[in-house]
Symmetry: C2
């Protein structure tokens, strides 16, 4: 196993940080590593907003959970899909900007390729990270707080700091439940790979202090039974994304 | 600069490969590195289909472009969003699977975190990679070819092989056009960062043999003036994704 793969396999989401500030050069190195990721036809349909304003950080901590770590992490970034540059350039050239779901999808993929490189870059420098999907709890308010223009929309947040905890590795599905050759498996085979995982997952939670935690199957069945974040489509449409 | 960041910054999309086969252990190492990436609430809403069937590979090469490399690359993967496991588990537990855009978005983000780790893992082992967005040209036909069940939908492809070319690094927007502090820039400042980039981008294309290539601005204004892949939303909806 080489150093790059070793770094990836050491990933765990870190939710508590020391007060140690992150040097500006480390932030630049991580974002430039992010930019080096592939981008669909070079469109680079994303931007990264580094939030340093203390009042904004406190408010974002409320809006995302509340999640105290969003307020106190040495660095907090908001990863956005971004069609603003493309719209301005089209307008200046007298062209229309006319897109459908494809452009939104590309922005999510481009932004996430960048973000994952940023995460690995920070981790390679000894920092811990945590993606903050809770940023989508109240997208319109996050947007107003930052004053984002039309065509720019937050996807998720990212906390970064020197780890003050080691939560251990959270086990993943067995590779046989994720990597398939030439065809998707039958339902029974798919569920068999999950059954093996349930016990491993439950043990992981038990070791972290959960009493009677239940396995991954139970967690998933419960999680998807109620609609999560039902209003996000309205928000993304309001920013110019077409989802049809 | 450490080895991990150096690996990321060396990324270029490689579109020609030697015939050297990729050992199965390398494929497993890359996919397991992919699985080690973060996943929203552990949902792992993706799967990876390794396509080895020669006839399928030839047909996929037509459907994606045509792009000959999809037929001849030593490995070709299809990265899919996957809610199948969640749906089966909900059904078995007597729960409903009831989701909106959020679940689709999570599947795209989860899949892409995994895919970017896979890319870096393969690159760290000396292989070259190329994401294949052209897989979205004819999604319904790709789906039929693979016989994908409800809840599983391709997002993009990935070619991997030992490089038989060095296309050089494609320049990216200056970091000042992507990383912003606390607020999104005014339009004029945004366009200023693009202006500096236009010349660099044009020079890159010229060095690769383009005559009178134009800059990034012209490429973007042209690209977004016509709707790209207008039918993909219908396809994703047909697989159970809700985009509202």
């Amino acid at each position: 196993m080489n150093d790059v793969i070793r770094a990836m396999r050491a990933h765990r989401s870190v939710r508590a940080y020391t007060d140690e500030p992150i040097p500006h050069e480390a932030v630049v190195a991580a974002v430039e590593a992010g930019q080096a990721a592939a981008t669909s036809s070079a469109v680079q349909a994303y931007c990264v907003i580094r939030v340093t304003d203390r009042q904004h950080r406190s408010r974002l901590a409320e809006l995302t959970g509340p999640q105290e770590k969003v307020a106190v992490a040495p660095e907090f970034f908001i990863i956005c899909g971004d069609s603003r540059r493309h719209r301005l350039l089209a307008e200046r050239a007298g062209e229309r900007y006319e897109q459908k779901l494809e452009a939104f999808l590309v922005s999510v993929i481009d932004a996430t390729l960048c973000a994952q490189n940023m995460v690995l870059a920070f981790e390679s420098m000894g920092y811990g990270t945590c993606y903050i999907g809770g940023l989508r709890n109240h997208l319109a308010e996050v947007d107003r707080l930052l004053g984002l223009p039309h065509g720019v929309y937050p996807l998720y947040g990212l906390c970064v700091g020197r780890p003050a905890q080691d939560p251990g590795l959270r086990p993943r599905l067995p590779i046989g439940g994720v990597l398939f050759q030439d065809a998707y498996p039958q339902d029974d085979d798919l569920l068999e790979s999950v059954a093996a995982y349930d016990a491993v997952y439950e043990q992981y939670l038990r070791e972290r202090g959960a009493t009677n935690p239940g396995g991954w199957s139970a967690a998933m069945a419960g999680k998807f039974a109620s609609v999560t974040r039902p209003d996000i489509a309205d928000y993304y449409r309001s920013k110019g994304a077409v989802l049809d």
